[in-house]
């Protein structure tokens, strides 16, 4: 892993997973790669953080899990965004935009 890859900020991981699942149902590895892809390789999600997050979010009711077939005919556990999850994604997105805007302004101020 290159030192460039930023460690995930607390709370960002949930947002990124929800965002990835917005595109459709996905298994763990798929989510991991998708996050890497949409953040341009800045964020790398390791299984040690990914799986606890997924299970926690499932318990929160934001995503639902089911077993399905992978692209290579392998059984894999898939995750899908639920209605509360969608709501959570919107709320988190708003919150995040607000924060990033504020931080951006703060850093630009002289």
């Amino acid at each position: 892993m290159s030192p460039e890859q930023t460690s995930l900020l607390q709370g960002t991981l949930d947002l990124l997973i929800l965002k990835s699942l917005r595109a459709g149902e996905m298994h763990g590895l798929g989510i991991s790669r998708r996050v890497e892809q949409i953040t341009g390789g800045t964020f790398v999600v390791k299984p040690g953080s990914l799986f606890p997050a997924l299970h926690r979010m499932e318990e929160e009711g934001w995503i639902t899990a089911f077993w399905g077939e992978s692209e290579n005919n392998r059984r894999a556990k898939y995750y899908r965004l639920s209605k509360p999850g969608l709501k959570q994604l919107e709320a988190e997105t708003k919150r995040w935009s607000r924060i990033s805007l504020a931080i951006g302004q703060a850093l630009e101020a002289s």
């Binding site: 299984p47 040690g48 799986f51 606890p52 929160e60 009711g61 509360p84």
Partner: protein, 896 residues
Amino acid sequence: MPLLVKARSFLRNLFFVRRVDADLDREVHSHLEMLIEERMRAGMAAPEARRAARIELGGVEQVKEQVRDSRTGAFLDSLLQDFRFAIRSLRRTAGLTAFVVITLALGIGMTSATFSMVDALIFRPYPVPHPSNVVSLAGTTHDSKIEDFSYREYLDIRDNTKSYDGVIAYADMQAVGFSTEPTATPRVKGGMMVSGNFFRVLGVEPRLGRGFRPDEDQVPGRDAVVVLGPDFWRHEFASDPGVVGKTIRLNGTSFTVIGVAPDEFPGLLVFGHPDLYMPLAMARLFSTDIGKNFFEDRDDRELNVKARLKAGTSLSEARNELAVLAKGFERDYANVTRSRGAAVYTQFQTRTIEDQNWKFGVVFVILALAVLLVACTNVAGLLLSRARERAREIAVRLALGAGRLRLIRLLLTESLMLATLGGLAGIAIGYGVIEWFHSKDTIIFATELPVAVPFQMDKRVLLLCVGLSVLSAFLCGLAPALQSTRVDLVNALKSADVEVPGRKRLWGRNMLVVAQVAMSLMLLTASFLMARGFQHDLMVGTGFTKDHLLITSFDPRLIQYNATQTQQFYKLLAERMRETPGVQSEALTQNIPLGTDDFDGLTFVPDGFTMPPDRANFASTMDTIDEGYFATTGIPILRGRAFLTTDTADAPRVAIVNAHFAKHYWPDGDAVGKHIHLDNSAGVPVEIVGVAETIKYQTMSDPMDFIYLPLAQRPVARMVLMLRSSGDPLQLLQPVKDAVRSLDPNLPLLHTQAYEEFYLNQAVRGPQIAIDLVGTMGAVGLFLAIAGLYGLVAYNVSRRTHEIGIRMALGAVSSDVLRLVMGKGVVLVGIGTGLGLVMGFALEQLMNSMLFNSGGVDVVAYLIVVPSLFLVAMLAAYVPARRACRIAPTQALRYD
């Protein structure tokens, strides 16, 4: 909705552990497989791809553990796991577990039993609703912080204060003659006079009938009504629900039963549980000072006053209000109220001022806590040495992804379980000890009144047990847990010996040795001191003859004698007794020495003394006696004379003082011939005609001032008859009964017994209970300390077997090794002894100031205790060191 989802996951996680776990396992493995495939698609060879994938994953088990930790209910789940595991591992080492549990149980049991004393004497709230706002109002003088009020003073306080929702008054519990038929001989019961608002203000609802009406306490002598205590009702009336309205006779007068107090209200007293509550208005039948008018005399002070503080009124406001009122008393009634103040006390203050016995309780608790601490260090030492044996297991767990915190929790769960078992067993021991106290009831209280040892295993004591158990779990478990989880993984897995090099670990164990020596030294010193303190008191002697004495008490008020009849009765009784064969001499006294009742106080001003402006008089304890007293008790008259039959009510007033008194007020001159004035310098002059030897009066403690007044000049209703017999004093029992029956068949004999028997109970067997208790604690503490000390020192030495092997291989001889090992022991025990001496000395000062007032240092105690502890420690170091020296170096080097 999310809450429901969450609850579902929680239940699923809890009850379908296996299925959830299998699912997780499949998921992580499929993830791993996909990672490998991805690598191989990118062109890696299979083994290489597998390796890279594993590195990225970071370990299947670790990932699973992380997921488990993040789950809902993970905490509870793992806690259950911990418990199951702890039970398994404790069962595996049943012997050790049993020892630890017994050790802790002794400590916790001792502490809870002794705390129950302090609890009963100080903390237990009044058995009424909202007990915390019940405060005590008390008079204060130069000599006392808590004094009773007179009836007049009570009325003034009740009517002129605004801080309270009601002010009540009650007299001390006293002997009352009870009978159901006018012709029957009355039996002695414990009665208490209370103000008419007593039950109402306290918020106590009678279980049957009613409490007093306000008008029933208005007119002296009019309303003869009585409320029964719950136990009395049960025993005397077999819980008869129809008792209300019945008539009973108290001190010869008919009373109508109007109610029965509830079981929850055994009374306001710590020890006594009154049988009968009578209104203050009936005081003519019950008041103690027959020379005074209860309803009019402002200095006939017989009443405890308590009040309910109004919500929003502070204690200091109430204090100021009462202080102003007391100033008014002093101004308006200067002749009877000079230099008297007043104070408002909380329950805690009242109890701690009223009765000093709680101090014994506190010392007992301190000692018991020391036993518990010794027990805890023992357990900590044991767990520590066990932790070493488990080091590899712990290292494996750490390697498999268990967090350090999680492991510490696991180990703490284990010690918590130990402590819980210990706590439960401790509660059982506590119950046992308290039962033992109760079995001593009749020894502690030699009286016919309804009093009992109040110690109980109640809510607060049980709470303490739980608290102590948890605390001791942390005390014994935390250090070993912290230490055993701080291991170097690689080394731990490689070798069996995972001792971290460095001093830190050794330091902890050495601390335990030092603490153990110090604690047990303090404990032993204290129990020695206490035992010797009591023994010393007994050795000193009492100053009067105790054998061949029969005592029996009379209270002619029980059958409604007036003052003249009473004195006539005593005169006749004395005459009859003197004529009885077998009676060498006869005496009447208001109180016997070292008896259960307090002596009266007397205020006076000696001739020729100018009192300071803020002080009206001096105070001394006193006794009222007849002319046979000194001959019967054998107390020598040092100067002057004893009382004579010529000291009649009409003769000039006379008094006899003790030597202590004489020396106190006339250090250079002769007290005989001097006068004291009663109450103040303008009071009645009384001539001192004799000086008696100072004896032990109230307790076995220091000598005090004492004045004797003749019965003829100071009539008292309740007197004790003392008879000196030529043979067995109990043989005089029948002649006394006959004589009394011929004077009045209705008059009961109270507390009849041989004085020596009474004295043994009161002054010897009572303290013996305390000595037994402290002795047991000392013995338990010593036993635990020796076991622990031996274990720790021996373990420390055996840990060095390897090192000793090297030393021997390099040419050291056994004497070198012994010196090395023993030297270390000596240093540790020396430090512990030093600390223990400091603590023991501090405790001795505390005990001296609180209990024995002897002040000196008890050298003998230290001379016995210190060397014996040293010996044990030396032996503990010697035996394993000796063994280590005997092992062949080759063998010792292989030893781990």
